[in-house]
C-alpha cells in the first residue's frame, strides 16, 4: 500500500514500528504513527510539536491514558510501565494504524493529491473518533481544527 507514499511518509510508517516495539506493544497502532509523525522534520511534525505534542510528551501521555483507562474499571496500573517487555522483534499493523493509513489515502484523494505525504497521515489520524489517539488529543487539550490549520 506504500507505493504512493512519499519518502518521508514511508519513513514515518517504518519508524512507527520501532516506536511500537519500544513501547512493548504487540502491534503497531495509530498512536505509534502519531509519535513517529511528531518526530519528523515535516511541517506535520512541526505542527504537532508547536501544539505541545513532542514525541516524549506523547510517550508520557500514552502511559497516563493507559493508567486512566484502567482506573475506570478499578485497576490501579500506576507503576506498570507500558514500555516493559519490549522484546518482540517483528510487529504487524494493528487495526487502528491500518485505518489511519487508509484515511490518509482518502484524504490525499479528497484533496486531489496524487502522492501521500506526512500531512495526509496526520489528517488521517485526526479523523479517528474513538480509540487512543482521540483520547490523547482530548486529554492534551488539542483543537483538531487548529492543528489542521497549521498544515
Amino acid at each position: 500500500m506504500f507505493e504512493r507514499f512519499v519518502g518521508e511518509a514511508r519513513q514515518v510508517a517504518l519508524q512507527s514500528h520501532s516506536i511500537a516495539a519500544g513501547l512493548g506493544a504487540s502491534s503497531v497502532e495509530a498512536e505509534h504513527l502519531l509519535v513517529s509523525l511528531a518526530g519528523t522534520q515535516h511541517r506535520a511534525g512541526a505542527a504537532l510539536r508547536e501544539a505541545g505534542l513532542e514525541p516524549q510528551e506523547l510517550h508520557a501521555a500514552i502511559q497516563r491514558d493507559f493508567e486512566r483507562v484502567l482506573a475506570e474499571v478499578g485497576i490501579d496500573a500506576r507503576g506498570v510501565d507500558v514500555s516493559s517487555n519490549c522484546r518482540r522483534t517483528k510487529l504487524g499493523w494493528g487495526a487502528s494504524a491500518k485505518r489511519s493509513l487508509e484515511r490518509a489515502v482518502e484524504e490525499a484523494k479528497r484533496r486531489g493529491d496524487r502522492k501521500i505525504g506526512c500531512e495526509h497521515i496526520l489528517l488521517g489520524l485526526l479523523r479517528a473518533e474513538h480509540g487512543t489517539v482521540p483520547r490523547l488529543l482530548a486529554a492534551e487539550g488539542i483543537d483538531r481544527d487548529e492543528l489542521t490549520g497549521r498544515l
Binding site: 512493548g24 506493544a25 504487540s26 493507559f66 483507562v69 484502567l70 482506573a71 475506570e72 474499571v73 478499578g74 485497576i75 496500573a77 506498570v80 507500558v82 516493559s84 517487555n85 522484546r87 518482540r88 522483534t89 474513538h130 480509540g131 487512543t132 483520547r135
Partner: protein, 71 residues
Amino acid sequence: MPSTAADLTHPEDPEDGLAAVVALRRLADQIDDAQVERALRDGWTWAQVAEALGVTRQAVHKKHARRLRDV
C-alpha cells in the same frame, strides 16, 4: 474509582468501558510475555506452561517461541 463488581464491568460510558478492554488485553499480553519467559528460564517445559495457562502447547509455542528462542 468504581468500588463494586458491577461498577467494574459497567463503566458509565461505553467509550471508557471499551478502552478498558483494550488496555486490559495489553496488560494481559505483558504479563503473559513476562511470566512465560520466567517459567521457561526456571526450567518449565512448553507443555507445562501451556497446561498452567489452560491453552494448547501449540498455542503457547506459536505465540512465544520466536521471541524466546534463546531462552
